[in-house]
Amino acid sequence: MLSGIDYFIVIAYIVGMLLLGLYFKKFVNSSEDYFLGGKSLPFWAIGMSIVVSDIGALDFVGVSGQAYRYGISVGNFDWVGSVPAMLLAAFIFIPYFWRGGMYTIPEYLGRRYNQKVRTIASVTWILFFALDLGVLFWASAVLLNVLMGWPIWISIISTAGVVGLYTYFGGITAVIMTDVVQFFIMFIGGFALVFLSLYEVGGWDNMVDKIATMGPEYRNHFDIIQPQDTKSPFPWTGILFGLTFVMANAYMIGNQSIVQRCLTAKNEWHAKASMIFGSALKMFIPILVLFPGLMAVVVHPGLADGDQALPLMIKSILPPGLVGLMFAAFFAGLMSSVDSLLNSTATLFTKDIYEPFIKKGADDKHYLKVGQITTLVLLIIGVATSPISSDFPGIYVAIQTFMSYFQGPIFSILLLGIFWKRTTEWGGLSALVIGIGFAIYLNVFKEQFFTIEDPFLYISWWSFLLGVIINVSVSLLTKKHTAEQLQGLVFSSKILVKNKKL
């Protein structure tokens, strides 16, 4: 349980977030304001928001825990696993989405391939986001229950109430701007923890020396590249092919909640700059989340559960005030993930399902209302399904595995869609369906194909590769698109230098 001042800080943070989020209601007058912030936001706010929503509280605890168990190789997820993909997104993909005036990534797929591809991609993302929502609500409730001693249902309803209210009224502007506050709190609290942890272990060199003498299992703790036969889930082959080539790109280029943020930028320059600025900030994330896990090896050796490393470090190292600040940052990470999911799912449903299939050509106020009602319905679904997480403790891992099913195939059709004019609607559709099916097959029979326990990186890579092969083969056998159909949808070197509407 927290001390008085820390308790006060967490409560002040939650109430403050609610008031701040509600303040943004006055900027929402149309569906474009609600889903794209009126295309008026600056790059620095979007860049900070991308980083904060990417690193939720579960990742905070999980990455520190993995650093405790496997060492610094987990930092690959934020370095090679993010930065190159963010730069590729900034210079190649974002300009197409931005100039095309798009709201969602499936909307691009619909224009490039056909409506079926758009709907399958959109439904897959909606399903994933909706499932994730319940897990995040449960995680928030457990955090509040442990810290503040609130009963679990009170914790779920208060989290849903705060996040739901500001997302319902303020739309993506509230989501991004509350992320900015969360960013400052997370960075200042995180750096204070790193500084005090270093002080506690007697400096970096001292920590390295101590860990080196702790036994053979710590021999590779400071190797960023792990051998292929490593027992950790991060062999270099998986990091290079699965993470760097596929999952990182699929996440930064094909994830609605990330790309939608860039589309809120006031102009194309700001849209690109937001990703570049975000990539620069992302390089600091391993310092904040990985180093405390490493230092916990010295301060709290022999923990049975590595995920306890970060909470223990916060409790034992940080002074009063900053303990509250860091737990507020934890809660902020969860709130940020929940608000992103709510707004992105509402956008996907309204733009890709409701508008084309249920009510075409309605006025803008109608779609704004639909977006808000969808947010409310999702909130209720999230609250109602959150106890499922307590019955199935592995559900978070299961949902992340589910993500690896479709990341590879979706990225394969996005990549070929932009870079290869010859790819056709049937090529895209078959690659998406067969690719997802193949990823599910590999996951079900993973013991027969892989030696490591959790081969999600390899599954992404092989399903991506099959997606490319299927797309190329089927496209060559089917009718190609005309030049007019491809206008503004495929790569041209002019995209790098000219800022014009497509």
Partner: protein
């Protein structure tokens, strides 16, 4: 400057003002929390973190207020 641009600038400045106030208030609370610490290093960490938040929040508010004043004058003229 066109009216649309002035309105967009005003919106951004109002948002920054609200964000700045929130961050500044949080900085004051963290600065106050240093009275609850035991050691010198904890004292200093709370002080530095609090002052950092205060300067970020204060800076954002100061810049936002200047922009609002300037844009309102342009809108009136």
């Amino acid at each position: 400057m066109k009216t649309n641009e002035i309105n967009a600038g005003l919106k951004a400045a109002q948002i920054n003002n609200a964000l700045g106030f929130f961050i500044l208030a949080f900085g004051v609370i963290i600065l106050f929390a240093m009275f609850y610490t035991d050691t010198f290093i904890e004292h200093m960490t709370d002080m530095v973190a609090g002052l950092l938040l205060i300067s970020i929040g204060g800076g954002m508010m100061w810049k936002a207020k200047r922009t609002i004043k300037k844009l309102k004058a342009e809108k009136a003229s």
